[in-house]
């Protein structure tokens, strides 16, 4: 588990580098990624369905990202990206594609729907964080507070 977290940290930081995240946000982003992955793994181990675990992890990561974005005055995306990257259903998407290549259309559809639900879980987390952070600001401040 420890090795996994270290690997996750480096993988997430690498993603930050690929997307040009500012230097001072890089390692914090890695931390958010590790946190999201830990929550996802722990919930999965305790028998929570993968989709629900994904949304919980995504909510935590996105909320934390917005909080840090405010604190460091850096666009929230710079923190959200590393936070949700470990949750992206890469393997499901791959197996979906594999099933379609093999001509197993029914299996492919099944996996495809699961992939979509996973992605939906991540999106729900991001949306939830936006909702919290734009709460009570009125129409004039429809968007996230960055000032």
């Amino acid at each position: 588990m420890i090795i996994e977290l270290v690997v996750c940290f480096f993988a997430t930081v690498s993603f930050g580098i690929i997307f040009g995240v500012p230097r001072n946000a890089l390692f914090l982003g890695g931390g958010i990624g590790v946190l999201a992955w830990t929550i996802f793994r722990l919930l999965s181990d305790y028998g929570v369905t993968a989709i629900f675990a994904t949304s919980i992890a995504s909510i935590t990561a996105a909320t934390l990202a917005h909080f840090l974005a405010r604190k460091f005055r850096i666009p929230a995306t710079a923190f959200t990206i590393p936070g949700i990257i470990p949750l992206v259903p890469g393997s499901k998407a791959y197996y979906t594609m594999l099933a379609f290549v093999d001509g197993d259309y029914l299996g492919g559809l099944e996996l495809g729907i699961e992939t979509m639900l996973h992605a939906g879980g991540i999106a729900a987390g991001i949306v939830f964080a936006i909702a919290i952070f734009s709460f009570g600001k009125g129409i004039g401040h429809r968007y996230e507070a960055g000032r």
Binding site: A11, I17, G20, R73, P75, T77, V101
Partner: protein, 251 residues
């Protein structure tokens, strides 16, 4: 040059940098409107989509002026977005003048990417190796995933530089990454082919467009959200086709 013309230049330059390097639409709109309002311009409106920026405002005794700019290229460098954000914030609170803001923006526009290109390739490799491990591959699978990830990243950037077709570059990168992964497993380096390929493909996943699409849709920018979503979908399809071709050719 009048104040309004200068503000127009500043706004368009700021918007162009932000949108080109991966900012969300709402952030661009809001930044432009705030900057224009801070310069005492009235009737400020901006409309930003994924591919262009429209901005109009009213100058005293000259009537409304309006301009648009088209954004052709999209890269990812969130550092530049952060820097522009910083400049606009300083301009809005009045700690720098319009001239200074313009010069700073020019400098940001001309500055190189935040990280050198070799570091990006290296990072793709590390991300590839790391994710192949996280998705259930063994320690032995990280090396082939690293190599395939670096190959995919180099091809992605080089093919796009020469052919200038983003989706084709992604297709080629996924195809070659998959081919390298299959070859390495064939020669006995690494065992779990599926995990290696997943790791290789992770750096190509359109993470920024996807999150931005969700943000844009949520803040009511339906046009920008849908177009970004379409961009992310086509990218995913390019990757899937590339890898599918590699698998059906070589397996």
């Amino acid at each position: 040059m009048g104040k309004a013309d200068q503000m127009m230049d500043i706004c368009l330059l700021a918007g162009e940098i932000m949108l080109t390097y991966g900012a969300e639409t709402y952030r661009v709109e809001e930044t432009l409107e705030r900057m224009a309002k801070a310069a005492d311009l009235k009737n400020v409106h901006s409309f930003v989509t994924t591919t262009g920026i429209f901005i109009s405002f009213e100058e005293e005794d000259r009537g409304d002026i309006m301009q648009m700019i088209r954004i052709d290229d999209r890269y990812y460098d969130l550092n530049k977005v952060t820097l522009v954000n910083q400049v606009s914030r300083e301009f809005v609170i009045g700690s720098i003048t319009a001239d200074e803001a313009y010069h700073q923006l020019r400098r940001i526009a001309l500055s190189p990417m935040n990280y050198p290109i070799w570091l990006i390739h290296l990072a793709s490799g590390i991300a590839g190796g790391g994710f192949s491990y996280l998705f259930g591959g063994g320690v032995k699978d990280t090396l082939p995933a690293f190599l395939a990830g670096v190959t995919a990243s180099i091809l992605l950037i080089e093919v796009e530089r020469y052919l200038r077709v983003k989706f084709f570059a992604e297709f080629i990168a996924a195809f070659t990454g998959g081919a390298v992964a299959i070859a390495l497993v064939y020669f006995g380096i690494g065992t779990n082919l599926n995990q290696i390929i997943i790791g290789t493909l992770m750096p190509l996943v359109p993470g920024v467009p996807l999150t931005n699409a969700v943000r844009d849709l949520m803040s009511g920018d339906l046009l920008a959200g849908v177009s970004r979503g379409a961009e992310a979908t086509i990218t995913s399809l390019s990757i899937a086709t590339g890898i599918a071709l590699a698998i059906s050719l070589f397996l």
